[in-house]
């Protein structure tokens, strides 16, 4: 049976890269005595896959990994046993069971929600909060994407499903829901860089604190997306 594990990553753990997170979970599943299925062949490995890699420096409330489980004692038991073996900065939020034939996490990811803040001391010199509202309303957001061989311009707007600014915190928080699929992934930093460039400023390397709030699958139709968080695909067990 395929289980979908949702976890949060914060604090010092933001400095652990994706490959190391994968290796960490391989060991954590063993420590928690979860009955994971292994592949065949001479060097068998656990059958698991992650949704989308999270860059170093970002924190998250919505990371996902799918694992093939042979036997189990229920979702709550699995969550508890895994949480007992976690370190500070990683926490299992939920465990659900995927229906037969469901797409794996990586293939399912269509969009991701981010909140973005400016790090203390790195706020733009101009009054960015009022200008941001204009930016949100602009019909197109063109950026230059450099590839190894050439440069290309790209309009990000169709890939940005939601962009807003809230002032629940004094310094302002940007919310965005953007494409996170393998073909159209938008990095939040790129959106912010476009905003700053449009106002004659540059994005400095450590300026942003980015939190990935959740990842979404698209259960809608062509042209009419319907985003559902990845943990809503599965059922309790």
């Amino acid at each position: 049976m395929k289980a979908r594990i949702k976890f949060a990553k914060w604090g010092a753990m933001r400095f652990i890269g994706h490959l190391d997170v994968m290796r960490y979970f391989q060991k954590a599943l063993r420590r928690a005595d979860i009955d994971v299925a292994y592949s065949e062949g001479f060097s068998p490995h656990q059958i698991m896959s992650f949704a989308a890699p999270l860059g170093v420096g970002l924190t998250s409330n919505g990371e996902y990994l799918d694992v093939e489980i042979k036997t189990h004692a229920g979702a709550e038991d699995m969550k508890k046993r895994l949480n007992e073996t976690m370190v500070e900065g990683l926490e299992i939020l939920s465990v659900t069971r995927l229906p037969e034939g469901a797409k794996n996490a990586m293939a399912s990811v269509a969009a991701a929600k981010y909140t973005v803040r400016f790090r203390k001391g790195y706020e733009p010199e101009f009054d960015w909060k009022s200008r941001f509202l204009d930016f949100c309303g602009s019909p197109s957001i063109v950026v230059t994407k450099k590839t190894k061989k050439s440069q290309a311009t790209l309009d990000l707007k169709p890939f940005i499903y939601h962009l807003s600014l809230s002032e629940e915190e004094k310094d302002g928080v940007v919310h965005m829901l953007v494409n996170a699929s393998s073909s159209g992934n938008v990095k939040p930093g790129l959106v912010m860089e476009a905003f700053l460039k449009a106002n004659g400023a540059e994005l400095s390397p450590f300026a942003l604190e980015i939190v990935r709030e959740d990842a979404y699958a698209d259960t809608g139709e062509e042209g009419a997306p319907h985003f559902v968080p990845l943990d809503a695909i599965g059922m309790e067990f």
């Binding site: 010092a12 400095f15 954590a28 420590r31 001479f42």
Partner: protein, 639 residues
């Protein structure tokens, strides 16, 4: 969780920030207000190397089992962070608390190889601790060194307050109790060190004076005060089955060199190869109980989640319960899909059978360590591995499906001739020939057999029979390497043989440090000031700067390396007692020059002196006649 010592901008700029954040699975966090003594355990190399070291895991576990002690870890910052820390004067911090090492009571540094000496200075410097012990006061931790290099600590003696000679499981409790008592009574740092010098196994350089002859050799080394021991006997943990061992080793986030559970099955080695320091300083051989090992194996795998377990010892084939242990592991690990790694095995029918069960035969390689190319020279070094045994083992291996063989040799061994060097090529060739004879063309999966012959340069080490040997010069080493290469190219099967040789520069320096005296400390400090660091890493080793340091201080390298040693010379390490007598080493040196082999400990005791510790193999029942053959053939290693 502790606040990180390094701010985000730094962590996001350096390579592998995970090296510096701690918070690993099984890392121990204590409340500093609830402990009396804080220890920073240090491996003076980068995190990935340090985290692969078993010794720190054992001592970390031991210290943290003491309620009144909190032990944390610290490793060498990589060159990128090192630069930033100096620019911004960020003090070196321990991983668990993220607090400065300078504020701790002890900085314990494990010294596993000579080429890390400048990194020791890097650690002290970044921690804002004066490099020279005489410049320290109570605002600095006590700097204590341990590990194999303490068997000649003199080149780094001025940088340490104390050296712990021998195995760390035995004496730290006494030392810490003494420390607590001295601090409570508000004794001076020197008074504490004077008391520490009287604790068994402790060497406090401050209280020893060395005097030299005109020719630079040592006239005497004596304590400067009453009550300080003239000779220091090493500490040995005689009960290795009931002592500290980590049930919950710390699990790193990033990939480190030893990313597996390590089970030390025994200490010491019965073989007595004459070039090998470890084989002498870890005597007497002591095996751990089978039940203890089984229990630990399961507990450690459970507590770490590692996918692989490895058996560690100098010569695993000589562990008397090896078949039972391996059967147990194969059964338990097979259930859980855990890999088993078995280095240091002799190549014979038994081990090949075992290895075929745990390894992918097609992808792994088998290792033999003949060390010398001819039987004559193998007898000189007491590695009695015969050509017949090697070729038989190779034949069995090839029949079993192996296609890769690694061969380890040394160049520059005492009495070596051109014929011995050619023997390396000839032996490699014979092994290749065995493959083509044994495996019919249609069964050759990879086509050719792949033999990799590798030579390192022989360095005489303290407390070995070869401590009197002359080391070759750099030019001689390179000539020998070229001769080996030419000989290999001339072999019939040369296309199946690849040859690697080591850097000569680093070997020469290692030779100076291995048998160096206190005068070398100035050179190490000068080289460090010039920017030498991470010398064990070939990409950072700067030979010219080292040569400049030697020149500027007027220290002659050849005095330490190529100079012939007289039998009666006093060595810088003679004031230490490693358990094996100098008389025994002299006997073995003479036997080497006579090309005579000495039997191993189980076959016939050679009277090395280690039996005075009252235990280990010296007192095991002698094996029955039919068992002796198992210990008779001499060792080779496998991956």
């Amino acid at each position: 969780m502790s606040k990180l010592a390094l701010r985000d901008e730094i962590l996001l700029q350096v390579e592998k920030p995970a090296r510096y954040i701690g918070n690993e699975v099984n890392a121990v966090i204590k409340d500093k207000s609830q402990v009396d003594v804080r220890v920073a355990m240090c491996f003076p190399d980068v995190y990935e190397i340090g985290m692969s070291h078993l010794g720190i895991q054992i001592l970390y576990d031991m210290f943290n089992k003491f309620d009144d002690v909190w032990c944390e870890r610290v490793y060498s910052p990589w060159v990128d962070l090192d630069k930033k820390m100096r620019e911004e004067s960020i003090p070196l911090f321990a991983l668990e608390s993220q607090e400065p090492v300078k504020d701790m009571d002890f900085l314990a540094i494990t010294i596993q190889y000579e080429m890390c000496y400048t990194n020791i200075l890097q650690i002290l410097d970044l921690a804002h601790i004066p490099l020279r012990a005489t410049d320290r006061d109570w605002s600095h931790p006590i700097v204590i060194g341990g590990g194999p290099c303490v068997y000649n600590p003199e080149p780094i003696a001025p940088f340490f307050d104390i050296f712990y000679i021998g195995e760390g499981e035995t004496r730290y409790r006494d030392l810490l109790d003494l420390y607590k008592e001295c601090r409570k009574q508000e004794m001076s740092r020197e008074e504490f060190l004077r008391a520490a010098a009287k604790v068994p196994g402790m060497y406090v350089p401050l209280f020893y004076q060395v005097e030299y002859h005109e020719d630079g050799t040592i006239r005497s080394m004596k304590p400067t005060q009453e009550g300080i021991p003239e000779r220091i006997v090493k500490e040995v943990e005689m009960d290795v089955s009931h002592t500290y061992y980590p049930e919950k080793p710390v699990v790193p986030f990033i990939k480190v060199t030893q990313d597996r559970v390590v089970l030390e099955i025994q200490r010491g080695c019965i073989r007595g190869c004459r070039f090998c320091q470890a084989g002498q300083i870890y005597r007497p051989v002591r095996e751990r109980d089978l039940d203890m090992l089984k229990n630990y194996a399961l507990a450690m795998l459970q507590n770490t989640g590692h996918e692989e377990i490895s058996l560690s010892s100098l010569s695993s084939s000589d562990y008397s319960k090896l078949p039972e242990l391996i059967d147990f592991l194969i059964e338990k690990c097979g259930e859980k899909k855990i890999n088993i790694s078995l280095p240091s095995l002799r190549i014979d029918a038994f081990s090949l059978d075992v290895m075929s069960k745990v390894q992918d035969v097609k992808k792994s390689s088998l290792t033999f360590a003949p060390e010398a190319g001819s039987q004559r020279l193998r007898n000189v070094i007491n590695k009695g591995l015969t050509e017949e045994v090697i070729l038989n083992g190779a034949a069995l291996a090839f029949q079993g499906g192996w296609t890769r063989v690694k061969l380890y040799f040394m160049l520059g061994l005492p009495t070596e001739t051109d014929e011995d060097i050619r023997g390396i090529a000839e032996l490699s060739n014979k092994i290749a020939a065995v493959f083509y004879e044994t495996v019919p063309k249609e069964k050759r999966v990879n086509g050719r057999v792949q033999i990799v012959a590798s030579t390192s340069f022989f360095i005489p080490k303290p407390f070995t029979p070869f401590q009197w040997a002359s080391m070759c010069t750099k030019e001689e080493f390179l000539e020998k390497a070229y001769a080996t290469r030419t000989a290999i190219k001339g072999q019939l099967n040369q296309k199946s043989i690849k040859y690697n040789w080591h850097e000569a520069d680093i070997s020469v320096l290692e030779g100076v440090f291995a048998r160096g005296d206190r005068k070398i400390a100035d050179v190490i400090e000068r080289a460090y000031e010039k920017g030498c660091i991470f010398d064990a890493w070939s990409e950072f080793f700067q030979g010219e700067l080292w040569m400049d340091a030697f020149d500027e201080l007027g220290i002659d390298i050849d005095f330490y390396t190529t100079r012939k040693r007289e039998l009666e010379e006093i060595f810088p390490w003679d004031f230490l007692d490693c358990g094996v007598s100098k008389e025994f080493l002299k006997r073995e040196w003479k036997k080497a020059l006579e090309e005579t082999v000495s039997p191993n400990c189980r076959a016939k005791c050679q009277g090395c002196g280690a039996n005075r510790f009252g235990g280990g193999v010296c007192f095991y029942d002698q094996p029955r006649a039919e068992e002796t053959s198992r210990y008779a053939a001499h060792g080779s290693r496998s991956e």
